[in-house]
Amino acid sequence: MSARAAITGMGILAPNGIGNEAYWRATLTGRCGIAEITRFDASGYPSRLAGVINDFDPASYVPSRLIAQTDLWSQFALAATAMALDDAGVDPASVPEFTLGVVTASSSAGNEFGQREIQKLWSRGPQFVGAYQSIAWFYAASTGQISIRHGARGACCVLVSEQASGLDALGQARRAIRSEAQVVVSGGTEAPLSPYALVCQLASGQLSDSADPERCFLPFDASARGHVPGEGGAILIVEDAAAAAARGARIYAEILGYAAGFDPWPGSAHSPSLARTISVALADAGITPRDVDVVFADAAAVPALDRSEAAAIETVFGPHAVPVTAPKTMVGRLYAGGAPLDVAAAVLAIRDGVIPPTSGVGELADGCRIDLVRGVTRPARLRTALVIARGFGGFNAALLVRAAD
């Protein structure tokens, strides 16, 4: 019998709230965390809006020695980890070190730090590149720093599949729990607001050029015109469910099912794979579509991608058959932090019996036959939630969480 994976703690850093309850209260009231980018002068860019976390002081969460050698992205991760461990009531020192793992998601890694050092390389020469560039920019840096700080010598790795990474990381965390891990620090964060990072995102052609923070990111809307990036994310503590119960932990939810897929290239005769990914996740969970109470959508806000996601949901569940929502309209797409934040929101929705709204969206686009929760929260008895995430290039993943019994 496989070990079951329970979510016992969460640490949320979001553009509309730092901390679990601050984020949740803001989200339930539809408070928007999207504003003009201020981390650098973005006035010359076609897209200037993002989900920005103001008032995050790394020094409040991270020792100065670590600040010198990390990008903001890893500082987010270290801070969220501390919050999540506290929320879970887990003292890492008391977990046998080879059973404590760290499996994070990453998408663009240490942007600001890396850009600064690369600028020095090309403007002044290699001897001016700092030594910490070697450990600050790369995808596994957050996993590494978390692992060192908390003495985690168990299963440690990073999953890199853009916005799908977060679900892939949680799926991998569950695998680790089924193997030798007792506790896994999982989830992910993102700090995508540096000039270089923004230019990379602009090249995708998927960024919104709207100047209105309340209406710039409108998934499934007839006026959908792309997304905005956001910074932050969520770290979740995943534990062996039996061990968590034995220590009297508060169990938020179980990771019930997970699957990953990849789309065929554009123009291929093969169908997109999201519907199949969702079906495989349901089978993995041992449940049917009727058992799902709410869907947290990937919500790309690119018309073709919206239609494709709506079609996949309709294929699996039927038209207008299950409530769908995307609270990410209030914070942007957080890339490696996005899906973990959606899972955290799903967990809180289950806990409180309320579906957070998709803000700003009005009339749905043709072909989007989904029951999108818009405007205000919708009370509902929620036991099982499906979270969908897609990464640029064809990644997709589906994850199911269910309330603890």
Binding site: P63, S64, R65, A68, Q69, F128, G130, A131, S134, I135
Partner: protein
Amino acid sequence: MRAFTLDDLSKIMRQAGGGASELNAESASISFDDLGYDSLAVLEIAARIQEDFTVRLSDDIVERLATPNDAVSVVNELLAGGAR
């Protein structure tokens, strides 16, 4: 060019690795390692010294910087134009 002092090094160590309190005569003779600065931190310290004091610290030289006192004397020799 003025001399490189323990105070200069102390400030650079704080920037490079964070934390550390002021260096004094006693702590200046303790190894970087024992002071909590690993090999990567020492490389970072060396990089910043090179930048602020326009002096070249080759990899060989950096390897031989065991303590803050070593760093101060080596940098001052290089600043005075001596080879090592």
